[in-house]
Symmetry: C2
Subunit: 209 residues, 2 copies
């Protein structure tokens, strides 16, 4: 295994667990069993390492996600919101084939990135993978055309918040569920629980201002 990949593998676990700001290069390199200077040699800086960690997942996810959403957009039928959100499930779960616990790790990273580092990841995703967003908003508009652009903007950000927050603390929540309810919840059932929630939220009736 190359040093570069050793670093990426160690970094993503630590980033997911403790956030980007909360993880030092020394933790990463010692966990990866490589020299401290290797990060700056191979990636240039910590910020570039973060981008590389995210890109590895996004490059796997984005094409599959765009395809699944564009099928909905170009279909003749009117989708309902649950279908739109369920389009995420298969591409997300495919990350488990790509890497062990890939789905869970990626979603946790996403959560970390949105709250850590003052919106840097939001910029990264929207500029590097804009098609995912445009396809998604088109699909939602098709399912709920009465929703104004503004209202959709807000509700999609609420949705982002729900997903991202849930996933960034998914380990803690799963622990509570296991202890309090004797109920072991996998990342897949968690996804299946959150989708009806966000679909109902986005589909909520519009309130007059």
């Amino acid at each position: 295994m190359s040093t570069k990949n050793k670093i990426l593998d160690a970094a993503e676990l630590l980033f997911a667990d403790k956030g980007f700001n909360g993880t030092s290069l020394r933790e990463i390199t010692s966990s990866a069993g490589v020299n401290l200077a290797a990060v700056n040699y191979h990636f240039g800086s910590k910020k570039e390492l973060i981008k590389a960690v995210m890109s590895r997942y996004m490059n796997e996810l984005a094409p599959k996600l765009e395809l699944a959403l564009s099928v909905i957009v170009h279909s003749d039928d009117k989708p309902n919101l649950d279908e739109v959100f369920f389009a995420f499930v298969e591409p997300l779960l495919y990350l488990n084939e790509f890497k062990v616990n890939g789905t869970s790790i990626f979603l946790q990273l996403l959560g970390r990135g949105y709250t850590d580092s003052q919106g840097f990841l939001r910029w990264f995703l929207t500029t590097q993978y804009p098609n995912v967003f445009t396809h998604f908003t088109k699909a939602v508009h098709k399912a709920y055309p009465e929703l104004t652009t503004q209202e959709m903007f807000w509700r999609l950000h609420f949705t982002m918040g729900t997903i991202v927050f849930t996933m960034s603390s998914s380990d803690a929540l799963m622990d509570i569920s296991r202890n309090d309810f004797n109920n072991d919840v996998s990342i897949e059932t968690l996804i299946n629980k959150v989708i009806p929630y966000v679909a109902a939220g986005v589909g909520a009736p519009i309130i007059a201002e």
Copy 2:
């Protein structure tokens, strides 16, 4: 104004903006115009200062929130979910009387605390203010008795995520709204936008597993 309050006032603004980990004691003390050592003299440590900042708001909020929720719980009528969530509005907005921009600052702090510092604030809130949570779950149960305890657990955490994430990035979202839609959104209208969303999410039909 006492040194202690100068520190609290400066700290809450910086914490809300840049997170707990992202704010140094030197930033706080220089913004407050006091000596660096004052924090450790008056509060003992940075962690205790964080608790103090949160407590100042929670002690104001908790009794009002408990009252509003217990009214619903002890009423003879069956509430609907929107009413349960709207019970939060008045107590939250009252924080604006308590401090300028109090509502917004508090909600941002809440958001920061949930993602920073590995769940320390979750522990703090649930142990220091358990009544708020029990009243809340009782009210939700009254409005939606078919929801099992387990399902409610998940949906309430989804809700927490929506609120907390939205509010921690509320400044950025409000900026986008102002620039892209020429639409200036106050914290109050933001609250009124998010409540139908979370109410619909919690009220979503139950899916067979």
